[in-house]
Symmetry: C7
Amino acid sequence: MVSRPFDLLNDAIGKEALIILKAGRQVQGVLLAFDVHMNLVVDDAVLTEQDGTEKKLGRILIRGDTVVLVAPSL
Amino acid sequence: MVSRPFDLLNDAIGKEALIILKAGRQVQGVLLAFDVHMNLVVDDAVLTEQDGTEKKLGRILIRGDTVVLVAPSL
Amino acid sequence: MVSRPFDLLNDAIGKEALIILKAGRQVQGVLLAFDVHMNLVVDDAVLTEQDGTEKKLGRILIRGDTVVLVAPSL
Amino acid sequence: MVSRPFDLLNDAIGKEALIILKAGRQVQGVLLAFDVHMNLVVDDAVLTEQDGTEKKLGRILIRGDTVVLVAPSL
Amino acid sequence: MVSRPFDLLNDAIGKEALIILKAGRQVQGVLLAFDVHMNLVVDDAVLTEQDGTEKKLGRILIRGDTVVLVAPSL
Amino acid sequence: MVSRPFDLLNDAIGKEALIILKAGRQVQGVLLAFDVHMNLVVDDAVLTEQDGTEKKLGRILIRGDTVVLVAPSL
Amino acid sequence: MVSRPFDLLNDAIGKEALIILKAGRQVQGVLLAFDVHMNLVVDDAVLTEQDGTEKKLGRILIRGDTVVLVAPSL
């Protein structure tokens, strides 16, 4: 059971997740860390731009205020 | 009776809700959790993009500052 | 007499109001509750999108930072 | 003499003012009240949308963070 | 010598200034007052919209968070 | 060595710098002062608009939250 | 192992990184410093504008709230 929103991030550590960002970007990768600002570290990150182009970025830090939603993989 | 806005979220836990986000996105799913920033956890989430495409995302965390409104299902 | 802005919201509880939101949306309904962030609960809410399409949403929570203005019905 | 910006709002209470809002909207009406967030209550408010259409809204609450400038009538 | 940014505003009180605002607007007028939020009172204000149309507004209050830059006249 | 970001601004006082602003504007001039909000005073400022038009503005105050980056001249 | 998001920035000091900024800009360079606001100092910075044009800027300060993500080079 998830009783607080950040529990979902905690449960997703070490797992694949899709992160949708503002301005039409999204990142797929393995969630490694997060903080109270929703800053995220994602490993093996693949960034998809609004026009569909993809870029492999490795391990990245995503600034929390650009996040729209985080969807751990099913 | 709803005397404070977050009472509506509390009453909606475990129920279907439509969440309208900034930039023309919306999410339909079951509200599982929320916090004071209006961060939301939604289960069985279906994201509809501005162009109408749908994506099933499972259990997701929505960042509060992207929320426009929350409408628990009638 | 209205001496503080939130007095207008207080006087509008239980009455019809038009709420204009950012990004060209507006909501018509009965104001049920508000808080200091201007988060609003509206009953029998009808959402009008920028393109004029209407959607009946029932009882909803509107996030305060998306509000442009609140106009209780004349 | 105006020594602090909010003195101008204080002097404008009960007078006609033009309020320019973000996203190309403006409101003309009588300023009734304001607070430290620049939330404003305006009576006999006429809203002009970016496309020039006008709407009579009566007494309204304008959220401070949508205000660009306030011009009490000459 | 200007050792802190707000010293420039202090030195500009009573003088002509050009104020560039977000969304392509600018105001020319005499700076009368300011506060720590960069809210400004400008007298004999002339507003120029993005499309070049001008409007004489008299004495106005500009909300600080819409300011891009302030240029006291040379 | 720069150990904190604002050290770079401190080292740039009295020197030419290019300041890139949001919404496609940039300013070239001599950095005179800054504060913790990244508000900047720039002397002999030349503003370049997004369409390439230039305007000489003399000594200006730039609001910190419009800054994208500051590049002291090489 | 990265247990907190800013650990990734700490590990990236002195190394090449790609920094994606809002509004379609990106910067490639050597990360020299950062602070809690995610303000960054980057050396040998090359700015790429949304239209693909590049500009060598040397040592720059990037304002934290314009950052989308930081990707230290693989």
